[in-house]
Symmetry: C3
Subunit: 169 residues, 3 copies
């Protein structure tokens, strides 16, 4: 029992939060970056792994300049849009809009998404992008609004996130 | 190797399941409370952290009495509705309804959502509510159908859920 | 500090990834099996727990032969469809279709879903099915395209997945 407490005490030193950001929904992005910046603020190592629609959260909107080669990649890139065009995960709540949610957050003095992303960057959260998704979408490291530390595979991410808490969002 | 086994044996003593309940979907709520009550039944410490739409699962439906101040907060509160109005995550499956799913669960003698929530409460699962979401939505501790142990921030939740399994639902 | 490093080194030996597959969305299924096969490829123990709509990913499409008893079970079974009928989680991206995504993956030489499932099976990932969901849907072990190692409850899954990384997808 004493030894258990010792182990518990020791493992308490491991403060690590890793998020797989699969979804590109606006509300989930807010939840993810609230978790990320909150954890980083209290000394956690934070690893963010952007994949699929989640790349959208940190992808710069390129206006009419399409990325990648091939018509489908271009269409996909266009549909994804970039971080200014994130949809809400709940469209069916009678048209309650992203604008309204943003307004409400501003009014109640809660950090907005760009502020939360900036906080996570300032607090040294690690941003990683999924290699496979980037190949499919024809994206490059320069196409992101946040500093991408590394473009990596699943295996590397699992290795980096080991022994901490890992969430799929 | 022997030491590894010792560590493994010791860490086996840590039985903790923590759920971040972000989604307010009916089917996901059933999955979450099946996990929660199942884990609590076999001696797990269970921590439930309700945030965003997930607050809906344990929020009392207030009829026409709107909560909070400000028109947008009222609209948001109205749209969220409460635990009797949870939508299904899959609306596109040809209109298969919540009523049908409830009927099916009753018929097969599987616990329904209110029964699962009651079980989780009876088995001493800890209910936590996200401070930020409550501020945005103008909710108070008394507005919930389940006993909220604490209104807390991300940092506290990560601390409580450390060294266990944490899922984002 | 030295002891902490020892613990960290020891716990590094535990390589375990467990996925709760709740969603039956095509894109989430690809993400899940990319994680599963990638982890298995580098020596992780991989546990896949199929529940609710996630059963769809490994359920054989039965054409017009309906499973289970009772009309609602039959309707539910019909709506679920099977692994050839998985929807995309984002329907609102201007009709970007599953066919297009499949084409893009083929073109960029990225593994398709059936290939990823085959890889996970070949690399000895463990497939588990949720007992409760199977009862509701009237499914049997033989109804799946992948080898189901065990039909189990929440408690058993939590036990198998302990001390690793567990994601809810």
């Amino acid at each position: 029992m004493e030894e258990t407490n010792k182990i518990a005490a020791l493992s308490n030193n491991i403060k690590k939060l890793s998020l797989v950001l699969f979804s590109g929904d606006f509300d989930k992005a807010i939840a993810a970056f609230t978790l990320a910046s909150g954890a980083a603020a209290v000394g956690y190592e934070v690893n963010l792994f952007f994949t699929f629609w989640g790349l959208n959260i940190v992808k710069e909107k390129k206006g009419r300049r399409f990325l990648g080669k091939g018509i489908l990649t271009k269409i996909f890139g266009f549909l994804m849009g970039g971080f200014k065009n994130l949809p809400l995960s709940k469209m069916n709540f009678g048209g309650f809009s992203k604008t309204a949610m943003n307004y409400l957050m501003k009014k109640e003095n809660v950090a907005t998404l760009p502020e939360l992303i900036d906080a996570a960057i300032a607090l040294k959260a690690n941003f990683y992008a999924c290699e496979m998704s980037m190949i499919i979408l024809g994206l490059k490291k320069e196409d992101f609004i946040a500093p991408i530390k590394e473009v990596l595979s699943v295996a590397s991410f699992l290795d980096y996130s080991k022994n901490g808490q890992t969430l799929f969002i």
